[in-house]
């Protein structure tokens, strides 16, 4: 009795998903939980694990196909786990003992001084990969290596001689080159982002208010502590400080931690701050749960962790759901301030600009300080400028008054050890 693999429903409003890459072939043996296909949906690329131990009976749709959720995309013939362990199974379900034997021959032939005889066509892993990428029939390629072997150079020469073969297509579809225009097809993620941006701007009454913050104390604190934190594996940036300040400010100004609904303004009694991460194919906003309950050390670790997992495409659905407030750090790119777009159904978003040394006036004298602009876009349906400004002022106060007391910990310094306390 076959088991179906379906296109999963990833996210509240998702209706479709796109198959990015099959990780198995028909006939492959798979184990329960083993990833079998990569899919792309609403703001998250993820893998679908096999529901059972078994053999892939049929793959129903090719890569690139977009389907409604709950569509059956593959079928698996279940097999008892015990049976699955019988000898070595190669990528195509065949036991590659023949291949292995040939390879052993190859190695022996090279390391011993005997001459290599003409053997039937063998292709190295590199050559096979290049042939696949360039879509070449290896039978047609003349081999100039030992015993008539096809080498990398032979492949490159072949592609140069045949004009029809071009560089392998990149992940983001080919570009059709017309005379003065280039058409770039839109990925599912891009389309979804586009729709959301427009919806947000149309729905929420966007206003942006800007504050200037003196980050000098934070800068100094970071300088003093970054080496110690590096020993713990943390690269300390300004973002954890700002996140911590925002979480504290949200506690005092809960109106910014809310949603506009037809019934009324829903204030959330938990604070989950999302941190926008920029990837090649678009933005993703992983969320730190219960941000207000974490200290600077924990926030640094969390931010570092979710950024890394976002880049490695290892975020789970839970990681990107449940946000109540968002921070976007465009200061990384050098931007001083911007007017960020609110991420519905939230009511505010904090834009963080670059930290730049500037001359400022303090007590009627000029001093050089590290300055930063914070831009808060807020939904004017839910609150007025006074609320937003009070919130932003609180963040400013926390950052400008930063002292060392938040983070107190004895780091292990050799060689006295620290007695098993990890």
């Amino acid at each position: 009795m076959t088991v179906d693999v379906i296109m999963p429903q990833m996210g509240e409003s998702v209706a479709e998903g796109t198959i990015l890459k099959w990780l198995v072939h028909e006939g492959d043996r798979v184990e329960k939980e083993q990833p079998i296909v990569e899919i792309s949906t609403d703001k998250i690329d993820t893998e679908v694990p096999s529901p059972v131990n078994g053999i892939i009976k049929k793959i129903l749709y090719p890569e690139g196909q977009t389907l409604r959720v709950l569509t059956v995309i593959a079928q698996i013939e279940p097999v008892e786990a015990k049976e699955a362990v019988s000898g070595i199974v190669g990528a195509n379900g065949r036991t590659p003992t023949l291949e292995t034997a040939r390879k052993v021959e190859t190695i022996k032939a090279v390391t011993e001084t005997a001459e290599i005889e003409e053997v039937e066509k063998r292709y190295s892993p590199l050559v096979r990969r290049l042939a696949k990428e360039y879509n070449i029939n290896l039978e047609e390629v003349k081999g100039t290596g030992e015993g008539g072997r096809v080498t990398k150079k032979d492949i490159m020469d072949y592609t140069a001689s045949k004009p029809g073969i071009s560089a392998p297509p990149t992940a983001e579809a080919e570009k059709k080159v017309l005379e003065r225009e280039t058409l770039i097809p839109v990925s599912p993620k891009r389309k979804i982002t586009a729709d959301r941006m427009v919806l947000s701007k149309r729905t929420a009454a966007h206003v942006t208010t800007v504050f200037e913050v003196d980050m000098t104390k934070v800068v100094r604190y970071r300088e003093l502590n970054k080496d110690a934190m590096k020993r713990e594996g943390i690269h300390l940036t300004y973002l954890p400080f700002i996140t911590l300040a925002a979480a504290r400010a949200l506690k005092e100004h809960p109106l910014l931690n809310a949603s506009w609904t037809d019934e009324g303004i829903v204030q959330k009694n938990y604070i989950n701050i999302g941190i926008a991460v920029s990837l090649e194919d678009g933005l993703i906003v992983p969320v730190i749960k219960d941000t207000d309950k974490k200290d600077l050390l924990q926030l640094s670790k969390d931010i570092q962790d979710i950024a890394a997992r976002a880049r490695n495409k290892k975020l789970s659905l839970d990681d990107i759901q449940g946000g109540t407030f968002t921070i976007t750090n465009y200061g990384l790119n050098g931007s001083l301030f911007g007017t960020p777009v609110i991420l519905l159904p939230q009511v505010a978003i904090l834009g963080v600009g670059a930290v730049v040394k500037r001359p400022v006036v303090i007590d009627d004298a000029i001093a050089i300080r590290s300055m930063m602009y914070l831009s808060l876009s807020f939904d004017h349906r839910v609150m007025d400028g006074a609320n937003a400004d009070a919130f932003l002022h609180k963040i400013k106060d926390i950052l400008e008054g930063w002292e060392g007391s938040v983070y107190e910990r004895k780091m292990s310094s050799p060689p006295t050890g620290y007695g098993g306390v990890w």
């Binding site: 390879k103 090279v110 590199l126 080498t151 990398k152 292990s412 060689p415």
Partner: protein, 324 residues
């Protein structure tokens, strides 16, 4: 910048670290009054006195254990094995105490064990061994093997400042035979980072220690025959710099691993396995290891020459691989 030999580089590193940090001290056989069997610590006894440059009894296990104990209470000892071959007497202390202290009970053990190793000096079986293999499989240790005077000084400083037990393999044959320009200011060569000794595009030779110079000579000959070799000097054996290894394989697609250690179960076997496991689709030929023959080190010159990998062995292997 000035030019110094490999041995002078080691000496300078020790001298500068001892002057900079009072917790650094040296112990070993004949290191004090005699100045060390190879004269590495000549003059130190007069400069630092008998309690910072200690002449120990003939007990490698005893004084390595003592180094560990001193390290646990705040010192940074540098143990000198008179010849790397004698490090086996301290195997238990290194493997079961030093390597495991931090993992087991959180105590850093910042010792450095200097091991003068390598052949080509007519030393026979007990004065010519390469010993990195004995400890390669012991998690918790670090092993480094510089090939130039610049790296010798920088790596020794890094090893002394590192908080883990480091086995520092210094090649005896290179002591007085190679020189390098080194800067005046303090510098450190980071542990765990390989170096590109020569850039090339046709074949990668991954190697370390004195064999780097053998590879460079072979590369010269090969260049005249139109083969461009890239030579990776590992510098650190444990932990291996996987990133550098994979980068060069992806670049040239053909690999030769070269070391003076004996072949079976040597570092080259691990490098080779890593490459097949993680760079399989980038290989345009099998990975060839060139290493010492699987015997103890023979004494007679003709036999020793056949034992240690020579320039002609490297050239022959690369040419065969290029023809594949």
């Amino acid at each position: 910048m000035r030019e110094i030999t490999y041995l002078e580089a080691i000496k300078e590193a020790l001298d500068e670290e001892m002057a900079r940090d009072p917790s650094v001290f040296i112990l070993g056989e004949d290191v004090g009054v005699y100045g060390g069997a190879f004269r590495v610590t000549e003059g130190f006894y007069e400069k630092y006195g008998e309690w910072r440059i200690l002449d120990t009894p003939l007990s490698e296990s005893g004084f390595t254990g003592a180094a560990i104990g001193a390290a646990l209470v705040g010192m940074r000892p540098v143990v000198e094995m008179q010849f790397a071959d004698f490090i086996s007497c301290a195997f238990d202390q290194l493997v079961n105490v030093a390597a495991k202290n931090h993992y087991r009970w959180g105590a850093a053990t910042p010792i450095v064990v200097r091991a003068p190793y390598g052949g080509n000096i007519h030393g026979g079986a007990f004065h010519s061994q390469s010993i990195e293999g004995f400890f390669f499989n012991v998690p918790g240790l670090k092993i480094v093997a510089p090939s130039t005077a610049y790296d010798a000084k920088g790596l020794l400083k890094a090893a002394i400042r590192d908080n883990d037990p480091v086995i520092y393999c210094e090649h005896k044959y290179l002591y007085r035979r190679i020189k390098d320009s080194i800067p005046e200011e303090d510098y450190v060569v980071p542990i765990g980072k390989a170096k590109i000794a020569l850039e090339g595009k046709d074949v990668s030779i991954i190697t370390y220690g004195a064999m780097v110079h053998t590879a460079l000579e072979a590369a010269q000959t090969l260049k005249e025959n139109g083969v461009s070799c890239e030579i990776i000097d590992l510098r650190t054996i444990l932990p291996l710099d996987k990133k550098s290894i994979f980068t060069t394989v992806k670049k040239t697609n053909k690999v030769v691993v070269l070391h003076e250690q004996t072949k079976t179960g040597g570092v080259g076997a691990e490098v080779s396995s890593l490459i097949t496991e993680y760079c399989f689709d980038y290989l345009d030929g099998p990975i060839i290891r060139i290493a010492a023959q699987d015997t103890p080190v023979p004494y007679s010159a003709q036999m020793e020459e056949a034992f240690i990998p020579q320039v002609k062995d490297v050239v022959a292997a690369v040419e065969k691989l290029m023809r594949y």
